[in-house]
């Protein structure tokens, strides 16, 4: 299979397609992983197994017996593990996103979303609306999600259930552990005036 492949969201078929060119000769593939096992976002470990590194291999092939894809070499670059690991953890946060479970009252199974993908509350709410085929409506500080049968809530670090939208977006991102879309009378209890 060569040529352009339609990207389906999340499947990254391009990574698994068979090509005749050397791996890494397509610039846009530099950071993708040949990970056909699942649809997860590339993790730092698998990225290390592939990827081009430019001209040095091509010009001085004599020095390298390995093919163009460079595996990570033990102990190189010479950084102590303690130092490497200090940033490994941070990197994972940055690259793999903040995934939280989303439950909706009455739905048979949960979904998972990556909060990093959204720039703010409006995008998040829109996405939830699309995902669950419902209308949440607009947020107001005084009245919550008035007029809607649903209220998006989240569990924060302290284990409390909070209404989505009260705190600044960044604070929400770092304290949100899971989302729950409440409906019905419970939802109305959260500040909706009738």
């Amino acid at each position: 299979m060569e040529g352009g492949v339609v990207y389906e969201s999340g499947l990254n078929l391009k990574a698994t397609e068979l090509r005749l060119g050397l791996p890494g000769t397509d610039e846009s593939e530099k950071q993708t992983t040949f990970n056909i096992r699942n649809n997860k976002r590339p993790s730092p470990d698998t990225v290390e197994d592939c990827g081009s590194s430019g001209s040095s291999d091509d010009k001085h092939g004599g020095h390298e017996t390995a093919p163009a894809a460079k595996a990570q070499v033990v102990g190189w670059p010479p950084i102590r593990s303690y130092r490497k690991n200090s940033f490994q953890a941070k990197k994972i946060e940055v690259e793999t996103g903040i995934y939280v479970k989303v439950s909706m009252d009455g739905a048979p199974y949960l979904r998972k979303i990556d909060l990093k993908v959204y720039k703010g509350y409006p995008e998040l709410l829109k996405a939830l609306e699309n995902m669950f085929k419902l209308t949440i409506g607009e947020y107001s500080e005084r009245e919550g999600y008035k007029g809607s049968e649903y209220a998006p809530t989240y569990e924060d670090k302290d284990g409390d259930w909070m209404l989505v939208g009260d705190v600044p977006w960044d604070m929400f991102m770092s304290s949100c552990k899971r989302l729950r879309i409440m409906r019905g009378s419970e939802a109305r209890g959260l500040g909706c005036s009738i």
Binding site: S52, G54, S56, K59, K70, Q72, P77, P78, R83
Partner: protein, 619 residues
């Protein structure tokens, strides 16, 4: 982070041992033998001439602290040897296997301070299988028995157990200083014993160690009535601590000058400690972030005033999980800083600028490459007194983008003319920039450039990096330590052999074309003491070209090169005072027929060591 000069040229034989600790060695220790006094009964008995000589020698030798001078003095004659052995207070053993504890304690009878180094440096990068050796146990047993008055112990890359620490603590009543660098094998229970039993402890410095979390509250174990602590460095102890206990400890340690916290201490907690201890000169700030999100308008402690009150602060480090918003807090101390370690702080150029522009006195600066070339340009513009710069990669991988390059290096070389020590990780470099640095910074003693992509040439000319490193050895006449990288041919080695006459430590990785490369170095560098090579095409012929020099070296490490067992065997046969270890890199026992994984060899008075693991064979 140690700001001591020994980090710059670790194997400086002429360095006084006092350089390692940063404090002056006390020569005021009163070791004067009782000299025979003219008889009280009226009779004058002339003391034997030998006795006089010995007394004079003792009193003179007291002033000789450099081990190089002492080694020379001990060779003059038997009498001088004897007296020197009786008066040496500081013992430096660069390789724990070069000499046995028994031999040491039989020769040197009154030692107050011991420095002991174990594993070779490449062990830090997982190249050595675990349990290779460097056990502290036989040493502690010997010292506990022979040096009951021991005050200081400085260990590097040794395996130290909790039991060892226990023996130390129980046997040495005057013990004052424990410095452990890159050690492992112990846990917080060992620390607890030290804290509770070493009542005179002044220094407990734990630097880059691997400390097991035994869930012991060691901070609470220090003496209740007060401590003599001057330095407490535990940023590498990666487990939660009892903060209330730490607060109380700091409150009852009036002499405390150096404090380095681990990342479990938040900025709020840091604040409490700082107001207790405004006399601190060295501070490792811990996480430098909050455990809770502080919403706008919340009351935060007046951090700025805490920093402003710390008028003696000259060395700042930590920032393990920095929230950049807190950076301005340190502005009040910047003007006084001589040493700043941002190597765990993921900040960008602008954030760095806001701090660095105040740091006119900075001499030592460690930073992450997240600050980019731009950040280094700011450093170059302000820090005219800079002596040591280390730039670490935030993404320590070969194929990462690499935000710093020859641009940053060039800027530093133009702005920081007094530079003596450089460690620089990058992905792209040019010969021109390295050559420029060799001319702009003639005081360079340590030059370690790590181009992370293996075999990478000058990215503009596509040439090997030979000329750049050649210029460094040629123009930097004081150079003693060199680490090379990038695409390098035998030519680079011929330059090193030709010009690197003072080079003592050389690190080589993925470099060279043939045996000639190694030959150039072994034949050309008379001062070479520590040579570590990995993944380079040097074979038995090259190995054999160094026979004339190996007894002058502390060690040779060669891994993933082209050495055969036969070649190593022949070498061992010709050099009986060398211990030639052939090590299987994966820790398995079976003998390999092809090339040797790791050759590690060193001079020794003791022959093959008795504590060999099964994956090491002595040739």
């Amino acid at each position: 982070m140690r700001e001591d000069r020994s980090e710059m040229s670790e194997d400086d034989d002429s360095a006084s041992p006092s350089d390692l600790g940063g404090d002056a060695t006390e020569t005021s220790s009163n070791i004067s033998r009782t000299s025979p006094v003219p008889g009280g009964g009226g009779e004058y008995v002339s003391p034997y001439p030998d006795q006089v000589l010995e007394n004079v020698l003792e009193n003179v030798l007291m002033f000789l602290t450099s081990r190089r001078d002492r080694n020379a003095a001990s060779l003059v004659c038997k009498s001088w040897y004897r007296v020197e052995a009786l008066t040496r207070l500081d013992l430096f053993i660069g390789n724990c296997y070069s000499v046995s504890p028994r031999r040491v304690t039989e020769r040197f009878l009154r030692v107050l301070s011991v420095t002991l180094k174990g594993k070779p440096r490449f062990a830090d990068f997982n190249l050595m299988p675990p349990n290779w050796g460097a056990h502290f146990t036989p040493w502690v047993a010997a010292m506990a028995y022979s040096y009951p008055a021991l005050e200081k112990l400085h260990l590097k890359r040794m395996s130290v157990t909790d039991e060892d620490l226990g023996i130390l603590a129980h046997s040495l009543s005057s013990f004052k200083e424990l410095v452990l660098v890159c050690c492992d094998g112990f846990g917080t229970s060992g620390l607890a014993i030290i804290a509770s039993k070493c009542r005179q402890l002044r220094v407990l410095d734990l630097i880059d160690d691997e400390v097991r979390d035994d869930e012991v509250d060691w901070i609470s174990c220090f003496p209740e009535e007060g401590t003599s602590l001057e330095s407490l460095i535990f940023d590498c102890v990666d487990c939660p601590i009892n903060f209330e206990a730490l607060e109380r400890l700091v409150a009852r340690s009036p002499s405390l000058k150096k404090l380095s916290l681990n990342r479990y201490v938040s900025i709020g907690q840091l604040y409490s400690l700082m107001i207790q201890a405004p006399q601190l000169t060295h501070l490792g700030t811990g996480s430098f972030s909050s455990s809770e999100i502080v919403a706008q308008g919340d009351q935060e402690p007046d951090y700025v005033s805490a920093f402003a009150a710390s008028r003696s602060l000259v060395c700042l480090s930590g920032f393990r999980e920095i929230i950049a918003d807190y950076l301005p807090l340190i502005y009040p101390v910047c003007a006084n800083l001589t040493s700043l370690n941002f190597s765990y702080a993921n900040i960008d150029a602008e954030q760095l600028r806001s701090v660095i522009r105040h740091c006119h006195k900075l001499q030592i600066f460690w930073v992450l490459d997240s600050v980019c070339d731009e950040g280094l340009q700011v450093v170059a513009a302000t820090c005219k007194d800079l002596r040591e710069l280390r730039v670490f990669p935030i993404h320590a991988r070969e194929d990462s983008e690499g935000p710093v390059s020859e641009v940053g290096l060039l800027a530093i070389s133009e702005g920081c003319r007094k530079l003596q020590s450089l460690l620089y990780f990058c992905q792209r470099m040019t010969n021109a920039a390295v050559i420029a640095m060799s001319k702009n910074c003639p005081d360079l003693v340590v030059f370690r450039l790590c181009i992370m992509g293996r075999h990478r040439p000058d990215h503009i000319t596509d040439e090997p990096m030979d000329e750049g490193f050649g210029a460094i050895v040629k123009n930097c006449k004081k150079l003693t330590r060199l680490a090379i990288s990038g695409l390098l041919t035998d030519k680079a080695f011929s330059y090193i052999g030709q010009y690197g006459k003072l080079v003592r430590t050389l690190s080589v990785a993925f470099a060279g074309d043939s045996d000639m490369g190694l030959k150039h170095v072994l034949e050309g560098c008379p001062r070479l003491q520590k040579l570590e090579i990995r993944d380079s095409p040097f074979g038995d012929t090259a190995l054999h070209s160094g026979l004339h020099h190996y007894y002058n070296m502390r060690f040779l490490w060669m891994s993933a090169c082209s050495l055969t067992r036969q070649g190593c065997k022949e070498l061992a046969q010709q050099m009986p005072l060398l211990v030639v270890e052939v090590i299987n890199g994966d820790g398995r026992e079976e003998e390999r027929d092809e090339f040797v994984d790791i050759l590690y060899m060193y001079r020794s008075l003791e022959g093959p060591r008795a504590d060999l693991p099964n994956f090491v064979k002595i040739q």
